[in-house]
Symmetry: C2
Amino acid sequence: MKRPTIRDIALRAGVSKGAVSLALNGRPGVSEETRRRILGVADELQWRPNSAARALSAARADSVGLVLARPARTLGVESFFFQLISGLQAELSTRSVALMFQVVEDQAAEIELYRRWSSEQRVDGVFLVDLRVDDQRIDLVERLRMPAVVIGGPGHHGGLASVWADDAAAMVSIIEHLGALGHRRIARVAGLPGLLHTERRTTAFHEAAAAWGITAAECVATDYTDEQGASATRDLLTGRTPPTAIVYDNDVMAVAGAGVAAELGVAVPDDVSLVAWDDSPLCRLLHPPLTALARDTFAFGERAAKTLLTVLDGEPPADVEDQVPVLVPRGSTGPPR
Amino acid sequence: MKRPTIRDIALRAGVSKGAVSLALNGRPGVSEETRRRILGVADELQWRPNSAARALSAARADSVGLVLARPARTLGVESFFFQLISGLQAELSTRSVALMFQVVEDQAAEIELYRRWSSEQRVDGVFLVDLRVDDQRIDLVERLRMPAVVIGGPGHHGGLASVWADDAAAMVSIIEHLGALGHRRIARVAGLPGLLHTERRTTAFHEAAAAWGITAAECVATDYTDEQGASATRDLLTGRTPPTAIVYDNDVMAVAGAGVAAELGVAVPDDVSLVAWDDSPLCRLLHPPLTALARDTFAFGERAAKTLLTVLDGEPPADVEDQVPVLVPRGSTGPPR
DNA sequence: CTGAAAGCGCTTACAG
DNA sequence: CTGAAAGCGCTTACAG
């Protein structure tokens, strides 16, 4: 009634434990006939590998990690990470690799966790998200010799693999959409200043605006929360020369902004056009629905997982560019009144 | 330069490996003095346990699992699970227990995963969510002798531990709020029919309505998505005797319903009052903000984790009732016109 | 209170 | 192509 081990298989098949191991792992060293016999017995006994034993002797954990450094109670509406995780797992599960997903309070706790995972050998590799300008984690992970994929490069990821989308090109498509509609005063409610992708978007925003002869192109920094998205919108709309269009760095803030506009009696899109970076059910649910920058985050996750798996296979770290996000025009953008 | 093991500690401290193990795990069998010396050396060497070795010999994985059976691409706006996971981890991390979180397509895949986890001994226990009427998992988990906590009982969870909130009492508070405002035609856009808590809410809805002399109390079944929430709302509002108030089983559908009302030119709350079960930033962001049933899901998660940890300690399975969710009245409810 | 040994279930050189 | 043995880093009886 105990769980069968390779010892039981070896006994029953009349071979050694070593041969069983080779056969089960599809490695050379046993004849095709004995392999078949061994697999048959394993199947009959309903044998499954003990993950701890395998991890101990092979020095592999068969799991990889993803840490999210956010104050737990503020996590919420953003569907991005759920989609990402689903995509990661879809790919990882094809190789029976588990995902250790952990939410921590801040980057200090995140770093401590990598140290622990490394020394406990809990994971074979990690995904790094929310990259910052001069991120400490790149260096740490390289020092720990922990295989890693940086999600949301490019650049600044040392010798690590990375998967990323071209934020600059996406920003250009937004500005082109608004510029073509006739907007000349555009504001942006940006995300956290320290994040690398925020900085990249800011640069692209100003460059694209300049190319369209848009001189009034202000960026307001926020922490991504609905509160700050709402108050930034209020400040912009009640200023002396309010913008005719606002671009938000996430969907939550865009929705909050739409709420503020409704409250102030500012008509969307006649008085102000709104664009959300990242599409979500949220954007489609609003009235009018929000014009949004859509990307296939699930597929992005799959790609990231695939990249980490190749690194674990010993391939040199790749630098993978994902599709450019696509702007989906909806009711929240139109020509300025 | 290799990672230190207990052997290194034993050598350096001049004791046996066994003594080191006892000291490190705070168990009796070593004198206070040698324990201190051993801990000192461990600290000096920056020793950390190898989780695989520990799991193999102690037959513990030091991790627990949570599986979500939802088609991956439909996962999204609901903040409930993120909050829950954060709460689970906050508690689990105090005991260095990891959480294996996995998203699968359906219950068949979920069950297969439990079998695998059990035979590979990947986890010491699991959390069961989205309980169904006559759920197969209860029986399976009991047969596998896998410690478990059912989240969202009560009842129907066999000999397993459970944590739950009183959905019936919460539903009563909603109906009382609406009844006191003068509503006599109330509809409910319900979640998935097969789920246990949906059924409990349905029963409570009808009983509470009857108690207030509300005869028009219709329930429409949905799959929790915004699409179905929207179309159910459209059907209700364009029917021959539309309700003056609608109760939604989640926040996503309530927001979708608000969008439909805006589209149809139905005023909220004058023409129709809206209530969301589960509060979220989403509800506060809308204009008018939605009256919602709030609960502290983070704390709920902590409590669930605590319960599973006590089960792992060998305590008899507990049945823990969480706080009753609290109705937060906002702009979306008022007296019927 | 402490030490020496066996064992957890695998993988991996090393002989034959 | 196959077998016997050692070893991964812990824990846990069992002697002293």
